[in-house]
């Protein structure tokens, strides 16, 4: 018997009862849909989080003084920033503080008060101006009273789109009042972490040094923006060495986002396995459905099987015919399930901003189709053996 004839016979049999074929497929369709959609959703969520992480902190190494009770912390000064330039990085120093200010109704709003160098958008791609300008290096060095606020602070203090050019009176944690002119508004951070952003006011670092006594001459954190093409791990190691030479062991913490990313991958991989497992369970149920319908089909076609045997079909040929029928059923179900999953995923990308990209990896598709073929093979064995084992005389007598 030619192999292609097997497919023709199977197709004919499946199209003989289109409704039943489709209904029996439903289990497999739902199973494959679940597996594919859940795995891909997991991938899309992982991508969303990782991508956000990368946007915020992807190519950066963060250095901070290590805090130890009873020991005076290391002092990060302007000199350190210069020294760090020997590494293939752009150092961006920060002073962190907090402040309050009255909104237009006289209510106090708490704000993150950040001091940094000028022209931040040129150093940090994740900072984008919505309106106005960022203060320049000269303003930063001279500590002029200018500020760039984020959209959240703008809407809290002045109302949307009304902050630019306004004066802002800050009550600093040092107890002093600080009048600044709002010269720019930055866009809200996108991605997963955008949601965690607070109301922030960014001013020249020298301004904070001048107004908050205990901040004078020191930075709280230096972000090392790693130049493109440079290995992050390598920079991390060299920064560590350099800082140990300067300050001694265990006084500085050097961190990059990579460790966090790795931990996150582990979690999402586990999540994906769990979701995929739930999907696989429904595929199992689908497989049992296929077996059931195949057994019904064998019983119904007892006479056909008897006839085929009388005309010279061997038991092996009959078995192959039913196996192919089962596998074609499940693979067809698998295909429909994958297409359905793709449609739903695509809709999810359009509807939910958190999902930044449509991801349906070839591996997932291959896995889904491979598993559905395997389900057909596994659950087809019993019905096919029943068919192959029929006695032609009994089968022809069967009413």
């Amino acid at each position: 018997m030619r192999f292609s004839d097997n497919f023709k016979i199977a197709l004919e049999a499946l199209f003989a009862h289109p409704t039943r074929t489709l209904l029996s497929l439903l289990g497999v369709i739902i199973g494959v849909f679940a597996v594919t959609a859940l795995i891909s959703l997991g991938e899309m969520a992982t991508y969303g989080i990782q991508h956000s992480l990368e946007q915020v902190a992807g190519r950066s190494v963060y250095i901070q003084p290590q805090f130890k009770p009873g020991v005076e912390s290391v002092r990060f000064d302007a000199d350190l920033v210069k020294v760090l330039r020997v590494l293939p990085v752009r150092p961006v120093p920060y002073v962190f503080s907090s402040a309050t200010a009255e909104d237009r109704h006289g209510q106090l709003v708490s704000l993150d008060l950040v001091g940094t160098v000028g022209d931040l958008p040129a150093l940090d791609a994740s900072v984008a101006l919505a309106r106005g300008r960022f203060f320049g290096p000269r303003e930063a060095r001279q500590g002029l009273p200018v500020a760039v606020i984020n959209a959240k602070a703008e809407s809290a203090l002045f109302g949307n789109g009304r902050g630019l050019g306004r004066e802002l009176v800050l009550n600093t944690s040092g107890g002093s009042r600080l009048r600044v002119l709002v010269v720019g508004v930055v866009q809200p951070a996108g991605g997963f972490f955008g949601g965690f952003e607070g109301s922030r006011v960014t001013v020249p670092y020298k301004l904070l040094w001048g107004r908050i006594p205990w901040k004078k001459g020191r930075f709280d954190m230096i972000e090392l923006k790693v130049e493109p093409g440079v290995d992050l791990k390598e920079v991390e190691k060299r920064a560590q060495r350099l800082l140990e030479l300067r300050y001694g062991k265990d006084r500085i913490s050097v961190q990059s986002v990579q460790a966090f990313q790795q931990a996150l991958s582990g979690i999402t991989l586990g999540l994906q396995a769990l979701l995929g497992g739930i999907g696989a369970l429904s595929l199992l149920v689908g497989g049992i459905g296929i077996m059931n319908i195949m057994l019904v089909s064998v019983t119904e076609r007892t006479r056909e099987i008897g006839l085929r045997k009388a005309l010279g079909a061997t038991s092996a040929q009959i078995r192959t015919q039913f196996m192919i029928e089962a596998v074609m059923l499940t693979v067809a179900g698998g295909l429909i399930g994958v297409v359905l999953a793709a449609a739903v995923l695509y809709a999810a990308v359009l509807a939910v901003p958190f999902f930044e990209a449509f991801i349906l990896s070839p591996t997932t598709v291959a896995l889904a189709l491979g598993v559905s073929a395997a389900v057909g093979l596994f659950f087809g064995v019993w019905p096919a053996s029943q068919a192959a084992g029929l006695d032609p005389i009994e089968a022809l007598r069967y009413e």
Binding site: R303, L307, T314, S315, Q317
Partner: protein, 232 residues
């Protein structure tokens, strides 16, 4: 003349019932038989006489408990399932009382079916099937489904399906049993013609009128051959 069928002391025993009170049914009880090439033989007997079992043994659908069966000189007694299927496919054509056509296949596809299992390519299958259908006078009905054919036409499709195999032995089980008199006559006329062309035919029937068309009647009773009647 060369023998197509040689049966030597063929027995077929069915056992049924519990192991304590086992009932033994001797469906065939020592049948010896020789059918020559080109013969037209009928097998007659009341129901339960063993004539169907004899037909099944001749058609390799059933295996004798003991004895020997030579088909066209070849010993086919101990063939396993796969080998028996191959012999059925190449040497034996069946015609059943209830036609047993595939309802969703056209006449042509039905006739092609045995050749599918022979592994012939589609073009050759088609050619041979067309020729077989022409032979039974259904050249105009090739694309019809069985439901669009009369009883007599259906049986002619079934005969074409047997002929397409070019079998050494054509076995028919009550071939006119489901047909009206007129259609039955058509089928018998076709058998006459096939006989005239030199085909070897064995027909199982319980109707004397049909058996009379053959040249030799084997009477079976209680699993034995009780009479071998050669007609003029």
């Amino acid at each position: 003349m060369k023998p197509i069928v040689e049966l030597e002391e063929v027995r077929k025993v069915y056992r049924s019932g519990s192991s304590r009170r086992e009932i033994e049914v001797r469906a065939l009880d020592g049948v010896s038989l020789r059918i020559e090439d080109g013969e037209f033989v009928s097998i007659m007997g009341p129901s339960g006489s063993g004539k169907s079992t004899l037909l099944h043994v001749l058609g390799l659908l059933d295996r004798p408990t003991s004895g020997r069966y030579l088909l066209a000189g070849e010993d086919v007694t101990g063939l396993d399932d796969e080998a028996a299927a191959r012999v059925r496919n190449r040497r034996i054509g069946f015609v059943f009382q209830a036609f047993f056509l595939m309802p969703r296949y056209s006449a042509l596809k039905n006739v092609e079916l045995p050749l599918v299992y022979r592994g012939l390519p589609e073009g050759e299958r088609r050619l041979r099937a067309e020729r077989a259908l022409e032979e039974v006078g259904l050249a105009e009905r090739m694309d019809h489904l069985p439901s669009e054919l009369s009883g007599g036409q259906k049986q002619r499709v079934a005969i074409a399906r047997a002929l397409v195999q070019e079998p050494a032995l054509l076995l028919a089980d009550e071939p006119t049993g489901n047909l009206d008199t007129e259609s039955g006559r058509e089928i018998l006329a076709l058998f006459d013609r096939l006989h005239a062309e030199g085909k070897t035919l064995v027909v199982v029937t319980h109707e004397r009128e049909i058996a009379d068309r053959s040249r030799r009647i084997l009477h079976v009773r209680d699993g034995r051959l009780v009479d071998d009647e050669v007609l003029g």
